[in-house]
Point group: C2
């Protein structure tokens, strides 16, 4: 199942992002301008709310993948800029709706939009950004990119509904969890990376390779996210440890602890997660149980395994600065602490 990215690779993870940042720096400036430009509306609330999210310190990983993939495929046009901007809009729209669904109070250490402007505005501005994203894809003019992105939009929403249906269900299997994160997270990573090959009209195998790279990178990214929710540094993470626990969200650390646990422990998970009856000290006990069953460790291990698949997926491309940068990003995603 592909090589496992060794832990050492992931040590100084911020360094692993640098080659990608260097490659896309110029294009990212153009993207920032487009994003501000397309979030404009006579309806005051739209740019206000959009800027709140856009300026809120996201890494813009997904648009960077789209740009680097286009460069890897030696794409000569300028459709990748608009495509990457639209990918970020899709992601932003998802975040807005996610926060409403999860009733989240903070994201990346800042108040969520719904806490400032309300759920209603968050739903509607999310819809607006999704509409703007599709307008931009239409402007790019590639039916292939439109196909990839409309599939992604439906799949992401399907994944979010799956996650909602699985909420509080401690019997969720690892497979079901994988299906959820495949849809809600990996689909957009996959589509962003694939768009580069689609724009450059590269052969099907290169398109598939970039899609596979993006998908497995997305899986690794989400697994790390879910592990950090029980183990991260809340100061650096910008969100509180245990958010998933308090929301009864089913993620791999919990699934593994539940399956590897004793009958008594399962009763604990059912009380806290399924029934939502959380008392003082429960989060600490949850983390202790995860440590005992090496559930966090195993989640990181799974992430490294998917990272390995992502790495191998790019093997068919000849050596290049872009290929190297895309492979180094894997270590960043696995080693990140925020």
């Amino acid at each position: 199942m592909g090589r496992v990215i060794p832990l050492e690779d992931a040590r100084d993870s911020s360094q692993s992002l640098k080659p990608l940042l260097d490659i896309v720096a110029e294009d990212m400036e153009a993207i920032n301008r487009i994003i501000l430009d397309k979030a404009v509306s006579d309806v005051e609330m739209i740019p206000e709310l959009a800027h709140h999210l856009i300026d809120s310190g996201g890494k813009r990983l997904r648009p960077m993948l789209a740009l680097a993939a286009a460069k890897l495929c030696k794409y000569q046009g300028n459709g990748h800029i608009r495509t990457a901007s639209a990918v970020e809009f899709m992601h932003t729209a998802t975040l807005l709706h996610d926060d409403v669904v999860d009733e989240s109070g903070t994201r990346r250490g800042k108040k969520t939009a719904r806490m400032i402007w309300g759920n209603q505005a968050s739903v509607l501005v999310g819809d607006f950004l999704l509409g703007q994203a599709f307008k931009m894809f239409v402007d790019v003019g590639s039916m292939t990119v439109l196909r990839i992105m409309s599939n992604a939009a439906a799949t992401i929403a399907e994944g979010e509904v799956m996650q909602l249906a699985a909420a509080k269900n401690t019997a969720t299997t690892e497979d079901a969890y994988l299906e959820i994160i495949n849809a809600k997270t990996a689909a957009l990573f996959a589509s962003a990376a694939e768009s580069g090959a689609a724009l450059a009209q590269r052969p099907a195998e290169e398109q598939a390779a970039l899609r596979s790279y993006g998908k497995n990178l997305g899986l690794a990214f989400q697994l790390v996210d879910d592990a950090l929710d029980y183990s991260g540094d809340s100061q650096r993470l910008g969100k509180s440890i245990g958010d998933d626990f308090r929301e009864g969200k089913i993620t791999l650390p919990l699934i593994l602890s539940f399956r590897r646990g004793t009958e008594d422990e399962r009763q604990f998970w059912n009380r806290t997660i399924a029934e939502g009856d959380i008392q003082d000290g429960d989060l600490e006990r949850a983390i202790a149980l995860m440590k005992r069953h090496k559930a966090i460790e195993a989640t990181f291990e799974r992430a490294r395994s998917y990272g390995g698949i992502a790495h191998d997926a790019l093997a068919i491309f000849p050596a290049s600065r872009e290929k190297d940068a895309l492979q180094q990003v894997i270590a960043f995603c696995i080693g990140r602490t925020n």
Copy 2:
């Protein structure tokens, strides 16, 4: 400003829908199959919730417009079926999000989806249906239709945000109100009608004519809707009289009553609408004030005026069964009581 559709035309309004129903009957069966087919998902909640809305007795006016416009333009392919289905999906997605934003309890006399499955599912299934709509537009393969529909998606959302921003604001002008209903309602009517000419690759003036027809029909439709909320037969309407009043929604009957009213009456509107302090008998007083200032009458009058513009917009097309059916629909929209 075009001829005003006389009131007599609108008397037996259900008869005015029949020519359109006859023209699209066969295609509508195909659309019903596609709609059920595309609402399928392994995620149980999606088809359940989608069917609830799809089966809930909507008139499917928008897809019928798309079909009839394609036939008017002698379109020979089969892309109009998928286009019309996707238009209905867009509309359904909007309804789901609308009900969340408005906190509505009933729609067409049935419990809203959010009352049964919750706000969270309504937001996410709305997103899924919008994604499916765009997949269908991509399948149709017309970049022009994709452009029309992505513009519509962004405009509708913008209109909804405008409406949210204007909520409870009794100082809203008739112009601002028109801008809102232009975006939130008329844009999809316009796009549905325009898609027919776009698919058939008819000259720009025919595309513009159908767009103008759809837009003005949509304005008339929404104006009547807003008038019925204060004057309709709640049994037949499937919603309670006064919903807009209780939600503090700003519509033309209220705008006109506020502007035409005395200082004392404006205080009444400010208390009930702006401050949301509604007491027993207030709805009755609101309706009485609207009657005194002929605000409902004027709203219907405006609707007839837009209906006249819609009628004239089709003048450039030679006489045909489709043209006749589309013009008769105007009387249906104006004369309807539900």
